[in-house]
């Protein structure tokens, strides 16, 4: 018998038991849909996270206080002096721009509206380093820094919270921690990121923050230093230069750094590792349901073989060889799982799409992506499940003795 014939015959006998076939297929449908949806959501999360990390800036380096080694007990804080030293083009030729920031949380008030937002004290370099643009108004300048001006740029989310809009706000005065600040610009949206919303923020001149908003025990202390490398190739050299400068200034021996330099690449890799593990984890759990679906197929095929013992006996009497019977039952089980796989792909796609819509509706721009490899994987895997779990029942059918099978009641 050729393949097309056994395919048609399998279709015939499966459709003779529509409810049973349907329920068996359902097991595979759920399994494949779960795998597809989970992989899609994982890939979507990865895209969103890497996207938001890339959105921070380009060739960025982050310098934090505190080391990774246990021997550092009392790390010295980073200071404005550290930032200036890093900015020295002779000491660190591969560092293009440096932006120290002071970071804190504070209460914003406008009229009756209140909002708690992140307050960043920044220098003019911050805007180019972080790739920040304004949708209206202007950015912080050297004059604002020198004059400790009471001016602020406001993020779109914070603006929405206070004003109910994020346009036409320039010139308004809000209170930050009770002190009046004039708004000189509105920031472009950076989107919700994995580090919380980057849009619920106000930026004030560094010196103003230092003097009036964020008080630190050390006078010229900074919280984070952003540095931008000249190009992606120079990122490793820039890290070495920054580390060398800070070691000298903090008088720490090698291996006992009391600071940490992260590159954007490090963050990307970490995030990708985390989302990758997450995807595998979710996909693995989903794959278990596919396995359960496969066992369902085996169960039904065993019932079917027992039920059709006489038919098998008859077919053997009419000249069916073992291989014919084997093919017949394997075709049926593969067809069940393949069909389930196809429906499952469609359903998984739908689930991923709905999850994406829900995410967008709740304010997180997040697009699950169904990859071609996920579809191929699911199709192959479900067909393989059908074959694998069909082998035992089909073998049992093929090895029935014709005499016994014909006598079976």
């Amino acid at each position: 018998m050729n393949l097309l014939q056994s395919f048609l015959e399998a279709l015939e006998s499966l459709s003779a038991n529509k409810l049973r076939s349907g329920l068996t297929i359902l097991g595979i449908v759920i399994g494949v849909a779960a795998v597809i949806a989970m992989l899609a959501i994982g890939a979507g999360a990865q895209n969103t996270i890497t996207g938001s990390i890339s959105g921070i800036g380009t060739n960025l380096l982050f310098v934090f206080r505190g080391g990774t080694s246990d021997t550092v007990r009392n790390p010295r804080p980073l200071t404005l002096g550290d930032a200036q030293a890093i900015a020295d083009p002779f000491a660190a030729p591969d560092v293009e721009a440096v932006a120290p920031i002071l970071q804190g949380n504070g209460e914003l008030v406008f009229g009756g509206q209140k909002d708690t937002a992140t307050i960043n004290g920044v220098t003019p370099a911050y805007f180019s380093v972080r790739n920040y643009k304004v949708t209206e108004g202007e950015v912080i300048t050297e004059e604002h820094i020198l004059g400790r001006a009471s001016v602020a740029l406001i993020g779109p989310e914070a603006a929405d919270n206070l004003f109910g809009r994020h346009e036409g706000i320039v010139g308004e005065t809000i209170r930050i921690e009770g002190q009046p600040f004039r708004i000189i610009g509105v920031l472009e949206s950076k989107g919700g990121g994995s580090f919380g919303s980057q849009d619920n923020v106000v930026l004030v001149p560094f010196t103003t923050a230092q003097a009036r908003l964020i008080r630190r025990s050390t006078a010229d202390r900074v919280d984070v230093i952003f540095a931008q490398a000249a190009s992606s190739d120079s990122v490793p050299r820039a890290i070495d230069e920054i580390s060398g400068i800070l070691r000298t200034r903090h008088r720490t021996p090698i291996g006992e750094d009391d600071f940490t330099v992260f590159s954007q690449e490090d963050f990307l890799q970490t995030a990708q590792t985390i989302t990758g593990v997450l995807t595998i984890f979710l996909g693995g759990i989903a794959a278990i349901s596919l396995l359960v679906g496969g066992i369902g197929i085996m169960n039904i095929m065993l019932v079917s073989v027992t039920e059709r013992t006489r038919e098998i006996g008859l077919r053997k009497a009419l000249g069916a060889r073992k291989r014919d019977i084997l093919t017949q039952f394997l075709t049926e089980s593969s067809l069940l799982s393949l069909f389930g796989g196809l429906v499952g792909i469609a359903l998984g796609w739908l689930i991923a799409f709905i999850v994406g819509r829900v995410a967008v509706a709740s304010g997180t721009p997040f697009t699950p992506s169904v990859g071609l490899n996920a579809i191929l994987l699911a199709t192959l895997f479900s067909a393989a499940v059908g074959l694998f779990f069909g082998i035992y029942p089909a073998n049992r059918a093929a090895n029935l003795e014709p005499v016994e099978a014909l006598r079976y009641e």
Partner: protein, 226 residues
């Protein structure tokens, strides 16, 4: 003489747990091509076992068996399947048709296993159904046919591959006597037209009377062969 079946000293021993059951204790017989033979005997006489061996559904424990010039006593499962497909047609008491498919597909089934292509298959299946007088019932499913018609489909199926022998196991057992006689007439008619050897296993003496030869079995031995 043209012998289609030559069996010599066939024995068959079943193991039922610890007990050995001797179903056949040395059966020798010869059947001419084109002959109509009845195998009779009380239950437990070994006639079903003999039919299974003659029909190549089972192998003898010992003995020699030549069917249509081929020695088949020691063949493997797939070779036996091939012999059954080409040389043996079966008619069962309970018809054994596939209820899901039409009369035509039922008759086609042996041709499928013979590897015959679509066109030729349908043509031969049609011819076989016409030969048993069911030209107008080809697309009916077995459940839409009467018992006699179902048995006619089974007979068409048994002869579609042009076998050397047709083994009929109580072919009239599930039919009333009038329809049963029609089936017998059909089988004898086909035997006369096509010269196909016909072996009927039964315990109905009215059927035995219509055949040229009756082989009686008792306790696994041939009791009477006339």
């Amino acid at each position: 003489m043209d012998w289609v079946i030559t069996a010599k000293d066939l024995t068959k021993v079943y193991k039922m747990g610890e007990v050995e059951v001797h179903a056949l204790r040395g059966v020798s017989l010869k059947i001419k091509r084109g002959e109509v033979v009845t195998i009779m005997g009380p239950s437990g006489s070994g006639k079903s076992t003999l039919m299974n061996i003659l029909g190549c559904l089972d192998r003898p424990t010992a003995g020699e068996y030549t069917l249509d010039g081929e020695s088949v006593a020691t063949l493997g499962d797939d070779q036996l399947a091939d012999i059954r497909n080409r040389k043996v047609g079966f008619v069962f008491q309970s018809f054994n048709l596939l209820s899901r498919t039409s009369a035509l597909s039922n008759v086609e089934l042996p041709l499928r296993y013979a590897g015959i292509t679509n066109g030729g298959r349908i043509e031969r299946a049609r011819a076989a159904l016409e030969a048993v007088g069911l030209a107008d019932r080809m697309s009916h499913k077995p459940t839409e046919l009467s018992g006699g018609q179902q048995q006619r489909v089974a007979i068409a199926r048994s002869l579609v591959n042009d076998p050397a022998i047709i083994m009929a196991d109580e072919p009239t057992g599930n039919l009333d006597s009038k329809v049963g006689q029609e089936i017998m007439d059909l089988l004898l008619d086909l035997n006369r037209q096509k010269g196909t050897t016909l072996i009927i296993v039964t315990h109905d003496p009215t059927i035995a009377k219509q055949t040229q030869r009756v082989i009686r079995l008792r306790d696994g031995l041939v009791e009477k062969n006339k």
